[in-house]
Amino acid sequence: MAYDDTLYARYLEGKLTEEELKKLIESGEKEELDRIINASKGMSIPGLNKEAKFEELLTSRNENSPTSTINLRRIMSLAASMAILLGCFYWWNIQSGQVSHNAEYGKLASIHLPDDSEVIMNDGSSIHYDQKNWANSRTLSLTGEAFFNVQSGHSFIVKTKHGQVEVLGTQFNVRAWDNNMHVECYEGKVRVTNNDEQKDITAQQSINIVNGKMESKAPISHANPLWTTGISRFYKESISSVFQEIERQYNVQVIMPVDNRPFSGYFDHNNLSSALSQVCDPMGIKFEIETNNLVKISK
């Protein structure tokens, strides 16, 4: 048979005969191709704001002054290339000024806000803010967990679905996943608001919102949130939220029986099995790491 010069291309579209496929598997070619195909799945280049680009085209058509639009274009592209440097997924709607940042699973992301305040996001977290309006109202919404080092100035507000945190210049950590919210203050003073409850906390203090109720917690002794140094620490948090954190940190799925006991302790971010021991051993439960990212917990 003549050498087939479209074989791989047809494999990609799933159009091989059974016999061709069998040969591809036996020779090991399939495995190598699959790896290339999988790795190239996540490849993307920055999105294009079609609406804004089209408006630009309309303007240049009406004014018939290409030079001014080219300058505008250069500025926009410059901003776009800076986004690439940030190394995390970046989405920018030029018209509304809305900006979102996401930290990928298994990675932290460090972001500088327009006023040079710094945000370090824990993995799987995202923030969202209005860039245009930033100078007037320093407000952003957070899903997940992030550490803030805020430049002094007027109030800086972090909104989450459980409540909001308001500060002047300071350093603080907000954790707001599905069930509860946890705020730690490292410097200065922050105000936590939830429904109609309001509480101010100062350096080394922390607060918990569990099921809509505020609880003060033990003072913190570390200088920075531990997760920024590769450790997740918990104080009297439900064991299910600890496993949720493991799921995010290691990109796995944890199956566990109902267990509402509180857990105090920590786990490391560099090895799944030792992290599981750190949580399971003191609680007297067993774990099993199965293939395809599954972790089974049993009593």
């Binding site: 791989y8 291309a9 920055p46």
Partner: protein, 167 residues
């Protein structure tokens, strides 16, 4: 001619449908995102100037051809830069950090290898993998036969397979 593309509504529709693909195509060839966006705009501007002579059916290949010609005059090859966007819900096949490290190393090598593909192979590969286009669509845009696109894709994959040997 009644079915030309001069009305803003029609033109807008065509623009929204093809602009990103055209930009990507120009980017795959040049490696210069800014240049790709500029030439994309210029190509559409030019098509609008000549809108009376262009039908909807011809508009896609028309604007791709203009864009390509504009690029040929400008071309200065740059390195390609890609972001890898991890889909949020996507689970890895293996959570071992060593494996993840190898995967990210593999992706880095893959991008380098793609960058070094001959242009005609690179463009076909990226249109297929990044823009998720069917060979038929790629053939139409590049004015090739489907068979020719398949051959290029096969060759591209054949060359990219070499990176396994170097790891």
């Amino acid at each position: 001619m009644t079915d030309n593309i001069c009305s803003e509504k029609t033109f807008r529709q065509i623009y929204f449908e093809h602009c990103e693909y055209l930009r990507n195509f120009l980017y795959y060839k040049s490696g210069d995102l800014q240049l790709a966006e500029d030439l994309m705009q210029d190509a559409f501007a030019k098509m609008w100037e000549n809108c009376k002579t262009v039908t909807i059916a011809k508009s896609k290949s028309y604007v791709f051809t203009i864009g390509h010609n504009l690029l040929i005059n400008k071309i200065k090859r740059n390195k390609l830069h890609f972001n890898f966007v991890q889909k949020k819900k996507q689970r890895q096949d293996n959570n071992d950090p060593q494996f993840l490290l190898e995967e990210s190393e593999f992706k880095k090598r893959l991008i380098e290898a793609i960058d070094q593909l001959p242009e005609n192979l690179r463009v076909v590969f990226l249109m297929s993998r990044v823009d998720n286009k069917k060979y038929r669509e790629i053939a139409e845009e590049l004015d090739l036969s489907v068979k020719a696109v398949e051959k290029r894709m096969h060759k591209a994959l054949l060359q990219l397979r070499q990176i396994h040997k170097n790891i």
